[in-house]
Amino acid sequence: MAENIIEMRHITKRFGTLVANEDVNLNVEKGEVHALLGENGAGKSTLMNCLYGMYDTYEGEIIFDGKPVVIDDPKHAIALGIGMVHQHFMLIPVLTVIENVVLGLKDNKQVLDLKGAAARFTELGKKYNMEIDPWAKVEQLSVGQQQRVEILKALYRDARLLILDEPTAVLTPGEIDGLFDIMTALKNEGRTVIFISHKLNEIMRICDRCTVLRLGRVEATVRIDEVKDRNHLAALMVGRDVQLITDKAPCQLCGVQLEVENLTALSDMGLPAVQDMSFDIQGGEILGICGVDGNGQSELVQCITGLRKPTSGTIRIGGQDTTGASAREVLKKNVSHIPEDRHKFGMIGPMNIEENFILVSYKENLYSKKGLLNWNWIGKHSDELVKDYNVKTPNAKEEAKNLSGGNQQKMVVGRELDRSPRLLVAVHPSRGLDIGATKYIQSQIVRQRDNGTAVMMVSTELDELMELSDRILVMYEGQNMGILIQQEATREKLGALMAGIRDGDED
């Protein structure tokens, strides 16, 4: 039996009255890739933040390399040889790569030797096959490159234990392969990797052992080669059997609802974001929009929903021209929008659930009379929605910010679908949600499609797109790379298109 590099014993971490981790025991062996699997809010990141010294108070003890240690500041963790790549990168965009790498190093001389550091950094990059220009500014790098900077930053500090917090969420399939190669290389030279994820197939592919967290507690630690099927892991994670596939009937098309013709739009920076895109969506089908984040999906959605003025092209909803229309005009055409950032655009945190439910429809009959809101009816209707859409809350008077991420999303989805839209624009509908909530929201979207709604679904999750979409449009640098029907959309084909490679382009 291999030695443990880290043992976390009886770790309990509270935030106020909320218990994020309760009596967690985690043993990680030297030289393994150890997965932390769990739904959102299961306490994976919290546990790792404890280990990295992000919190100064928690209960329990940590044994590192056989010796009890106190880690209440990241500098202790770094000194022990623990490195962490956070889910939201801890990089400073306006500084150069090398400045980010040496920032805070203990053995820095007062006058910095950036050239020397850059040489060492480049060598390190060559060794692991992640070459990055040390003099580039971080903000000029792609997300995948930034992640490599983060990994190299930890290796530069000679991390023996590397924690990767949901590293694959932002990567293309090709980049994920690259990341897994790096993880394997690290393992081969005796380093240990803790890999946080809620994607079962990735864990099955790369990890040696897996610890499953649920509701802040450890459910089990299993050897991956002893796991018979992934449904078993999923069941451990959610505490019950889950159907991993959403059932879907063949689609019944009922007329074009959205037409986009030669649409071109600029980003906030004034750069071309959407370039000459054309497509249409019929009632009763789901068109998935696939692509790496930042390839113009957000701007496309904003043009359609009236939040951004296109520079040229036309948009027709239900046959009527809505190019350049305001958001309210678009909503009046019976369009629902599940926005990409529910905190920013989908809800108002300090308002309660009832108030959030009526944000769009407050002017309509039943909701209000002569400018006065009809709270009686609103209250009753909100209770129904809370029940129908399975929002877990004491009651509909609860402030929206107090709900968990999944329940906030259910609330937004409930409000948007309650209007029985002709067109539903859903952006990352399951981003950051656990399996249970994801499946629920996906089934609601499918139900909407079966009722004849045209659905445009933007996502970066290939599994979700391949499972739900009737057709998949791939966007790359603002362009329509092609539309595949569900049956012919394979991971490889989509991955190539997402990276900007069309059939026949390959050498």
């Binding site: 935030f15 933040n49 990295y52 992000m54 919190y55 100064d56 500041d73 990241p74 500098k75 770094i78 962490m84 956070h86 990168f89 801890m90 990089l91 400073i92 965009p93 306006v94 500084l95 400045e99 040496v102 920032l103 805070g104 190093l105 203990k106 820095n108 001389k109 007062q110 006058v111 910095l112």
Partner: protein, 302 residues
Amino acid sequence: MIDFITNFLSADIRTATPLLLAALGLVFSERAGIVNIGTEGIMLTGALLGCMGSAAFGSSAVGALYAMAGGAICGVIFAFFTVTLRANQIVVGTAFNIFALGFTTTLNRLSLNGAKAVGFPTYPVPLLSKIPILGEVLFNWSLPVYIAFLLVPACWFVLYKTNTGLKVRGVGEHPKASDTLGINVFRIRYGVLIFSGIMTGLAGAFVSMGQLSQFIENMVAGKGFMAVAVCVFGNYSPVSVMLAALLFGGADALKYRLLTTSIGGYYQFLNMLPYFITIVALCLFAKRSNKPASSGVAYRKE
């Protein structure tokens, strides 16, 4: 004409000096993410303490030390409120200004009451000060002026080439990222506020002891605010800050030159000139900015 130019340039450097001293301090505190609008009050405090020290010991050096020590204490207090207690920086800064105005006025009436202090003596640089025009304009000054301009390259070097400078920039842009690298965000922010307090205190001493050698109530008259504007207009970078200070100082100098000419009758307009130029300059160059991403936001460790 030559006299006019010499006088104008000398007056420019004289008025630019306190702006530059304070703004160089502000470059560090702003870069670390602190907006210190209380600079005005700290400068006023420095002006009074400088005179008091100088009058009591008959030495401008002691006066300067008093002013800098007072500035450092102000920096610590400001840091306690905004960094430790995470109070709103603008509110605390405004409170500083109101407090300083009352505090210096009262203390002045109780002690100095307009008494003369020893001003900063002039040290002409040997030989160089004999060069026509240039010698008079550049090499015939008191110590704070030389210090201010020599600190420009020094501050540039510290900010961009040293470990400390990198930490300061890191903390202002992304305190949490800096924290994950083991940097103590609170210590850095206390440090820059103390440094900035010292610089502002010295700037205040120069305001009262540079020419008049006497404290007058509210004699800073907006120079602290202008130093903040200089720091922003100079894009938080020492060399540009120096140019900005010279531009704003020039506007002030121009005002005094013009008062003696035929348009001197419109003196209200001329009084407005430096402030007017400040606003126009800030509007014109508002976009290109090294403004730190976490400017004005207190850091909370979980």
